[in-house]
Amino acid sequence: MNNSMSTACSVTQPCIAVFLLLILTSSVTLASNQTPLSTDNVETQQQWLNLLQFRRSDWNNRLQSEVDSPDFFLSKKGKHDPKAELRASIEQLSQTRSLQCRFPARAQWLHQQGLLDKLDITPDNCPDLHQWLQQFNAESISLIFPAAYLNSPSSMFGHTFLRVNQHGQSNNNRLLAQTINFAANVNHEDPELIYAFRGLFGGYPGVITVKPYYQKAKEYSEIENRDIWEYKLNFTDEEIERLLLHTWELLPNYFDYYFFDENCAYRILTLLDVARPSLHLTDKFHTYAIPSDTLRSMNTSDLIGEILYRPSMATQLEHKINMLPKHLHKLTLATAKSDSETTKLELKNYSIEEQAAVLEVAFDHLRYQAQQQEVPRQHAAEYSLALLKQRSQLPPDSPFPPAPKPLVRDDEGHKTFEISISQGNVNHKQTTRLTLRPAYHDLLDPSAGYPDGAQIKFLETAIDYRETGTLRVSSFTGLNITSLTPRNDFFKPISWRIDAGLYRKHLSKTDDPLTGTLNIGAGHSYNIGNQQLYALLEVQYQHQHRMPSNYSANLGLHVGWLTRKNNWQHHLALIHTDSVAGYNHYYDELSWQLSYHLQSNLSLTGSTQVSHTEGEYFHEYQLGIEWRF
């Protein structure tokens, strides 16, 4: 681990074609039954395959282990041949007792199956293993899930890891427990570009790491500002032991991070399957698993017990600001800003409790700003300490209660694959539209469990059936990420959006070819009550060979108004752009979308749109229904 650091969890790839292939093929399930084990039917023994981390390849349906280090196998053919590995394991584990310390979960299972006469993984025989086990002092296991964070839509994909809760652990000291993570072992000595490339496309080996929870919690809740959900898993002592023994077997090994490999959420599921084979969690997923989906799958079993919430630093600050009386906001901002005598004197006019509240929020806010690089660090460091000193001179106990648990968790939000059917009129032609959205969340989807004002859409494809009897693709969104985070006195985030895809472009009354389009916008957003307003400066690049000059580059303004109320949501948007280069034209668009959620996964929608370009008007309206699963 020298000169390296466990950083990456899952690697993401732009593999659209492969992705489509994946969603079209169904999950391959490894069969399992309880016939007595022999080397002939080993492939049907789920637990033996679990212990070797075997899985059928999505590519060629071949069974092979996902562990890539040869040391993990006792047979030379072990990676591809579970029978050979079984024979070699039985032979070598019975001949060389010390080898049982290296593969205790395997040895234990073979012993239970009556294939290994003597099991000896006691502390006397395996001191290293037991010293390692001792650090966990294991009582139970929790699954830890850092949730998505506002203004970082990519964080919706999350990370999961395990925490081994200690005997006698309380909520006051759970930070001391150890965690089990799957991460890419990256090398910081690599030149930055190589580092970024290898991190993204593979090349760094994936390894299991064990770290104290205070380190992991800090990474997520303080550095990334993500709330954390902790799900206690109802494992028996025997299952916990099995999970740890198997983790020990995996520790010195690596999983290649190739272009197409498995992510951390998936890797964690394999550990849970070893602990309790009847869960079959990995069967439900391809190599990539969205963490909130994996949690949904677990929720259907009786695996999950108590669920705890750990608000991030930013969430706590937001909560404190909401609780802070309005008349103290200005003073708090002034206190966070500079060490002026007048502010100090003004602060003295308030009650002790109010003074403590102002100082606490001022410190937290300054810390947040410095972290976001909004103020110089050197100044922030010294002045923060001065604020803490002032606070320490007041009596103890914070005037703020902890931030409350959100009503809906990330894994309780709507599901992510959406199909919708709508009927309407596109430029005076009756049109039926089928839209498929493999992932993930639209601004008009129910927002519970998702960050407000965030949208990520992948590969959304709309196909129109028109009254003329023709079928055509009306739009294809490769990727659309929108992040509309409201600004206020304390937080000043930038709202932005990016939209890349193929959209119909009106070149004349009768010609509207699919046109490669890239929109990038940035600006501000504000909340007024439960209304959200935004304004973005936007550039649009389009490419289409039927267009004069083949391309167009436009610049313009994109403003919008969003409302969320009970089950209703609406979005009114106005776009105006004018030419900067290429095909010289202007484009105006006014659109209005409305959705009514019957349930979190079923909505009625309506939309209408008028666009205006080169003296012509185009109209469209649709009424439809959306189903998410």
Binding site: N2, M5, S6, T7, A8, C9, S10, V11, T12, Q13, C15, I16, Y149, P153, S154, S155, F157, G158, S170, N172, N173, L175, L176, A184, H188, E192, Y195, A196, G199, L200, K211, P212, Y214, K218, E222, I223, E224, N225, N263, R367, A370, Q372, Q373, R377, A380, A381, E382, S384, L385, L388, K389, R391, S392, P396, D397, F458, G478, L479, I481, I498
Partner: protein
């Protein structure tokens, strides 16, 4: 379903997720206060891979950032906890309560009856524990020990 995210991440280039500044010198309270912001290509990796580590973690084990604490006395693990939570511990002590303060009390083996005293004494001695923004975690731990030794009910835990 995560793969195409890369496209966005590459284009975005920026993210709220971040790495600690690897070039940051020293390990005083001030330099450890604001871990987690700077902008290099590696942040794209951090954004898409959903896993980051502060350089504390790295520096602690390798000593590369000058913050090698492996040679210091550990007081049952207290040094590591304090080291990794420098900023939160100071703000907990300033207000006399908080999770990190509870965690430090736990790792030092302080019985629940003495925890309120432990918190009070540290709160009252904030200036001694954090004399300047350059104070290191080792100095903070030593100062905690000294402050505890002067309090009858806490001296037994040292």
């Amino acid at each position: 379903m995560i793969k195409p995210l890369l496209i966005g991440s590459l284009i975005m280039g920026a993210s709220t997720l971040a790495f600690a500044d690897n070039s940051g010198p020293g390990c005083g309270w001030g330099s450890m206060l604001f871990e987690g912001s700077s902008g290099t290509p590696s942040h794209v990796v951090a954004a898409t891979t959903n896993g980051t580590s502060g350089n504390n973690t790295f520096g602690m084990t390798s000593g590369t950032n000058g913050c090698d604490t492996s040679k210091t006395l550990d007081y049952k693990g207290t040094s590591a906890v304090v080291f990794h939570n420098m900023d939160r511990l100071s703000s907990d002590i300033a207000k006399g309560e908080g999770e990190i303060l509870d965690t430090v009390a736990s790792v030092m083996g302080i019985e629940s009856a003495d925890v309120p005293t432990f918190k009070r004494v540290l709160h009252e001695n904030f200036d001694t524990l954090y004399p300047t923004s350059e104070v290191t975690s080792e100095q903070v731990v030593n100062a905690i020990i000294t402050v505890m030794s002067k309090e009858q009910s806490l001296a037994k835990y040292i």
